[in-house]
Subunit: 104 residues, 2 copies
């Protein structure tokens, strides 16, 4: 049987609930997405929000994730998130093992 | 150093874009969430939607995920999804390796 090779990569699943809508949050969130895209090992980011927010970012390695977590601008945003924006958030680091897709 | 034990578990990251809002979709989506919750090995499910939809379900094992994918009611919903609802969807199966959270 022909088996396609699949190179595992990593996801950060960030689920959150915000205290209130804050214009500073919106511009900071956009800035962080742009900054994330410039990091080594960044692959993609997807985000949706209604009652809760879910953002999933994809990375080539755990080292790339650790470097992004430690980025100094990102750390400032993380502090603002804790102090001002989030009622709660949950972060899960996961290894993508398999994927498939459908397009109409 | 004290190290807490962490039992790995699995996530299905489902990202999608719908063709249009369809009342049948809404009730089927709710029914599928209720049905998923009753499956062996189900842990949790989180969902958010704006321009795209992101649903992440969490499971105890890959076997539990495979069983849910093969569930006959779920298979009917999957077919309706392909035929009627989704412009595209992407499914990623991932192993959660680490997690942390914050609560204000």
């Amino acid at each position: 049987m022909l088996k396609t090779t699949f190179k595992p990569y990593y996801a950060v699943i960030f689920t959150s609930k915000k205290k209130k809508t804050d214009p500073t949050y919106v511009s900071m969130a956009e800035a962080m997405i742009e900054l994330a895209k410039k990091q080594p090992g960044f692959i993609d980011i997807e985000s949706a929000e209604d009652e809760i927010g879910i953002t999933v970012s994809y990375w080539e390695s755990l080292d790339a994730i650790a470097a992004w977590k430690g980025n100094s601008m990102h750390q400032i945003a993380q502090e603002m998130g804790k102090n001002d924006w989030y009622k709660y958030y949950k972060v899960k680091v996961a290894r993508i093992e398999r994927e498939y897709s459908f397009e109409a």
